[in-house]
């Protein structure tokens, strides 16, 4: 392991909670509905993060707890029952309904598992009910996906068929590219989790080789292991380096020669390097500060340093699973400062002191930092954009070069105005 510096910090935070991951999960599985059992705050959070207004009726909603629901839990269970009945009557196309726990539902100990069990019996053959918690007292941002996937694992049937299982939500076009490349490598049985239809869950077993596409799936990985799956150890497919190692990791698990991998992906690498050049020119030597939010920070830092030659000031992450991130951490330069957790005020003090060229942060902080003259990139864009794979390396770099380029244009002294 390279000599990185690990730090922990606690204090006031500035991050989304796990409910936010519904924003991309519901798009991945269009036959599912996500029903948050929570407060008006939960509803307001999701609509603010997702720009809900463009939908006639979105595939997610909130059963808002009211005063009378807090008075007696029995009544709350009954009320939830009523809401679910109404919802299913209105949206008969729903195949899977996720009951999503929130901070208030966790605190009052609303037992969503029991509710789900009862509903599963009643709607047998029509709708499946699954429950998980996206609460902010337990989860940060992308951890919501971890919870949702973990909740689906018990529904996955067993099979000893050999297969490659890609785990973590990917943009559909990126997923198609990956599958094509794996087929070219000679791996033909490839499935994704989450699948594109909630009812088409992959079967898993001792010959399932799991390749993670996202770094935030600790709990899912643990449960897949319990089901006998083999977890392929690799960095994550961000950038050329990460993606190459990722393909190599899979190839090794399927006993495919390294030579074959290089043969297939070298043309891709060559063209990606070419595409990366113009971004590297802008990013090279620039100093980067990553605030914690998506858990993608370590992989991004590795890509931006190793392939775009940026200097890393601090790499924040809301949560660090050293085991899962081992391969990534190995690729980081020595003395990288990783900070797990957050004290947002102290961290912003460090941002100002270190005078970075670019800060990766949440939307709440971006404009205030810009107003102080610090260029920013909002981290939420990483989970909404197709950034995985060799072919997307330049696009990924583009997310970071754009604010710097824009800054250059706007502050350019060559503009003659009169």
């Amino acid at each position: 392991m390279s000599k990185v510096e690990f730090n922990k910090e606690t204090g006031p935070r500035e991050v989304f909670c796990g409910l936010t991951s519904i924003v991309w999960l519901h798009r991945r599985m269009p036959d599912a509905f996500f029903l948050v059992v929570g407060s008006r705050t939960c509803a307001h959070l999701i609509q603010s993060a997702a720009g809900v207004m463009i939908f006639a009726e979105p595939r997610f909603g909130t059963a808002i707890l009211e005063e009378k629901d807090l008075a007696g839990l029995a009544d709350a269970h009954e009320e939830l029952d009523r809401v679910v009945n109404d919802l299913i009557a209105r949206r008969p196309e729903i195949k899977t309904l996720f009951l999503v726990g929130s901070c208030p539902s966790e605190v009052i100990k609303l037992d969503l598992a029991t509710v789900a069990e009862k509903l599963n019996k009643r709607f047998l053959g029509q709708v499946r009910f699954v429950n998980y918690s996206g609460s902010g007292i337990e989860t940060t941002f992308t951890q919501g996906e971890d919870g949702a996937l973990k909740a689906l694992i018990p529904l996955m049937e067993a099979s000893d068929e050999e297969k490659l299982l890609l785990v973590g939500t990917l943009a559909n076009n990126v997923e198609d590219r990956f599958k094509k490349i794996f087929r070219n490598l000679g791996i033909s049985n490839i499935e994704s989790f989450p699948p594109r239809q909630s009812t088409e869950l992959p079967k898993i077993g001792k010959n399932t080789k799991v390749l993670l596409t996202q770094p935030y799936l600790s709990d899912t990985v643990r449960d897949l292991k319990h089901r006998g799956c083999e977890i392929i150890s690799a960095p994550f497919p961000l950038g050329i380096e990460g993606s190459t190692e990722w393909f190599l990791g899979a190839a090794k698990a399927f006993k495919i020669s390294e030579l074959k991998v290089h043969e297939i992906i070298s043309p891709l690498i060559n063209r990606a390097k070419l595409a990366l050049e113009s971004h590297k020119e802008i990013l090279k030597g620039k100093r980067l500060f990553l605030l914690p939010e998506s858990q993608l920070e370590i992989s991004l830092a590795r890509f931006l340093h190793n392939e775009c030659e940026m200097d890393l000031i601090e790499v924040g992450t809301p949560y660090l699973n050293k085991d899962l991130m081992k391969e990534e951490i190995n690729l980081l330069p020595d003395n990288t400062k990783i900070v797990e957790g957050q004290h947002v005020e102290k961290q912003l003090d460090r941002v100002r002191e270190s005078n970075p060229d670019l800060v990766v942060c949440g939307m709440g902080l971006a404009n205030p930092l810009e107003a102080e003259g610090i260029s920013t990139k909002w981290s939420i864009e990483m989970v909404f954009s197709p950034i995985h794979g060799i072919d997307q390396a330049a696009d990924l770099a583009g997310l970071f070069s754009k604010p710097l380029k824009r800054n250059q244009i706007l502050t350019s002294k060559t503009l003659v105005t009169h």
Binding site: P12, H44, A63, G364
Partner: protein, 523 residues
Amino acid sequence: MELTLWTYEGPPHVGAMRIASSMKDIHYVLHAPQGDTYADLLFTMIERRGQRPPVTYTTFQARDLGGDTAELVKKNIKESVERFKPKTLLVGESCTAELIQDQPGALAKGMGFDMPIVNLELPAYSKKENWGASETFYQLIRTLLKEKVSYSEKISPLRWKEFGRRPKVNILGPSLLGFRCRDDVIEIQRILSEQGIDTNVVAPLGAGPDDIERLIDAEINICLYPEISEASCEWLKRNFGMEYTNTIPIGIKNTIEFINEVHKKLDLPLTNKKELENKSKLPWYSKSVDSNYLTGKRVFIFGDGTHAISAAKIAKEELGFEVVGLGTYSREMARQVRLTAKDLNLEALITNNYLEVEDAMKKAAPELVLGTQMERHSAKRLGIPCSVISTPMHVQDVPARYSPQMGWEGANVIFDDWVHPLMMGLEEHLIDMFKHDFEFVDGHQSHLGHTATNKKDNLNSDEKKEKNSKEGIIWTESGRAELTKVPFFVRGKVKTNTEKYAILRGIPEISDETLYDAKAYFS
């Protein structure tokens, strides 16, 4: 439990954040888990604020719940006070913290600070954002002024005469995430100043605790946004005798009425009455011949109470529209909205469910929708032009240009904003003249894009799905052919009216003649 897919208002603590963020020298310690920090983006992204809201979230986690969350609250309060040095501290809790009952306000008061501390109790499971803003503003004023109640005389609105100076007023209610507040304040201050009236304090927007303490230097209060400031104005009236205004200066008539009301309260003679009628271009633009086509345009209105009521008055009395629907999501203003609706022979729609609003909109078959950003989307789906008149805020509602809703310039803005989405008068006339020419493209669209207005939705798919209308009425070949000749923007209305007529008359089949019969009947 209430199933909510989208909500017009956030939780009450977001209302408190609106007050804190609008002001200077205030800090708000919010006992809340990390996810609640999303609310910062409402200010930094939607309002494009270059400062973070002055809010510290205690960020308690599940593992803290077994331990001492009260200690966590105290730690955050201590750190915030040291770091931000506020002149007044707001302390409160969000929905989850309300359940664990740490009573952060009481904790803060026991910590021995010498600054005023406002303990905010905002019930998250029964109240909403505007109520939270109103309550916070009221509690803040009460905390900062309650000691002065006992030794202050009742404030006479006429005392400026004794003092030998111009009358002074406070403008209360404008806040961040309020609809066009930034510009309304400038417009109203300008109008008052022209009338010889000075502004003492504008609050909460831009004010600090020191300004709140000198609210009582003014003679009267202007209650500009009752949703936010009525409770405060009422308290100031009860305790200091300060009168406050009731008229909201949106539209020409209400602006003039507002000026009258202020003058009357201050006993200041109104000498430029005639002049006032020519301050805005709205009256003349509305009278000019091109505006003839606005007559009787069917308008559906939904928004916060204040803006919906004002819009109804302008629509009917100043633009000559016909109001065919009126509603609000502000339950606190339901009574007033109902009264206004009754005057228009309508039943007010009071709801927080946007799907109900969309249904009502569909049924009312309006030609123009005045609503929130959500109604703009609903109207787009239905192919109806829309102008936004109310919160909840969207980044488009914070335009770069000066764009008030109130006062003279507000009336100009309203005329443009409401009329431009419609097809222009001459344009409509020409389309009517040339609609049978082969060059005329069926589905000709206004430049503001009626993306949803297409043959498919209006006619073809309807035909396929329900060749016969719901009531079993059949459209004959000639009837359908004639219907296609009707310009798309009134086709839906013609179709409904003709069917209504057919039912009324017991006509089982609609032919081209039935269409004309119906047209004559309804004209």
